[in-house]
């Protein structure tokens, strides 16, 4: 076994082993339209993930009255479940709005997309930065 730089045991990769090497991650398991399990959410109503030119593009729709607020498109970084896996099960993205920014970090668990949302305000409105988590199901599978 070759020794690689690591800061925890699970980062050690067996180069001469039976397990497949990691590297290129496929995004199919993440793609599609994901709708909030809470129809009365005041946070994110739905997210849409598509693949374009080898990248994963995220569209988010925030809860607003009378219609959801389209946050626009941002690229998402995708992650597998371990260093040997080639299937994406998580993603992260950064949404910048000027007066605030939002880190989104999401993973799939038992078919549900769990999105952790980190809201940071930069407009001196006095609002506190806050964390929330919401759950989404896929509509187009």
């Amino acid at each position: 076994m070759q020794t690689l730089s690591s800061m925890k045991t699970e980062e050690e990769l067996e180069v001469e082993g039976s397990r497949r090497r990691g590297g290129t991650i496929t995004s199919e398991s993440l793609l599609g339209t994901w709708v909030n399990t809470n129809s009365a959410t005041r946070g994110i109503v739905k997210v849409v993930l598509t693949a374009s030119d080898g990248k994963v593009v995220l569209k988010v729709f925030g809860s607003c009255d009378p219609d959801p607020y389209d946050w626009g498109e941002v690229n998402a970084s995708i992650f597998a479940s371990d260093i040997h896996s080639n299937e994406a099960t998580a993603w992260s993205a950064f949404c910048e709005f000027g007066f605030m920014d939002i880190h989104l970090q999401a993973h799939i668990r038992q078919g549900v997309l769990i999105i952790a949302k980190f809201d940071r305000f930069k407009d001196e409105s006095g609002r506190v930065n806050y964390f929330s988590k919401e759950f989404f199901y896929r509509t187009d599978t």
Binding site: T9, G22, F79, A80, T89, A116, R120, G126, R127, S132
Partner: protein, 140 residues
């Protein structure tokens, strides 16, 4: 009475009476030990506060002794909702010579839930990956 402020979702709207509050870090500060003794990920997280700033020390599961990742300041501290003074989450970044790890952690029912997004830049062939682990506060 609510005042008009910019928002991208309904929950960003708040009552003016709760604005400009400072965060209480006490719920996060302490030594947090992985609930899984056999973890191959993060063994322990130590959170300290100095002058309203939150600092993170991570110890990875390594043999024979834990790997000390060093001490970094939290990028941002978050409350559990827009009306709360209780700090309950943070994000932090570790940069290594072979890659980087983004940490996102939140307090939930007495546990610290830590999500790690590891990215490799050393051409080792390792997949970037996500993991999520649970930590209990030592001594409580």
């Amino acid at each position: 009475m609510s005042q008009y402020i910019k928002k991208v979702k309904a929950e960003d709207r708040v009552e003016s009476s709760i604005l400009n509050r400072t965060s209480d870090l006490s719920r996060l500060v302490g030594t947090w030990v992985n609930t899984n003794h056999a973890t191959r990920g993060i063994a322990r997280v130590v959170l300290t506060a100095t002058n309203g700033k939150l600092f993170i020390s991570v110890f990875g599961a390594c043999d024979p002794a834990p790997c000390d990742w060093g001490k970094v300041e939290a990028d941002t501290i978050y409350s559990d909702n827009i009306s709360s003074q209780n700090a309950s989450a943070f994000t932090a970044r570790y940069q290594f010579d072979f890659g980087k790890t983004q940490l996102q952690a939140n307090w939930n029912q007495g546990l610290l839930v830590v999500g790690s997004f590891s990215t490799y830049t050393d051409g080792s062939g390792r997949s970037n990956y996500f993991s999520r682990e649970f930590f209990r506060q030592q001594g409580k």
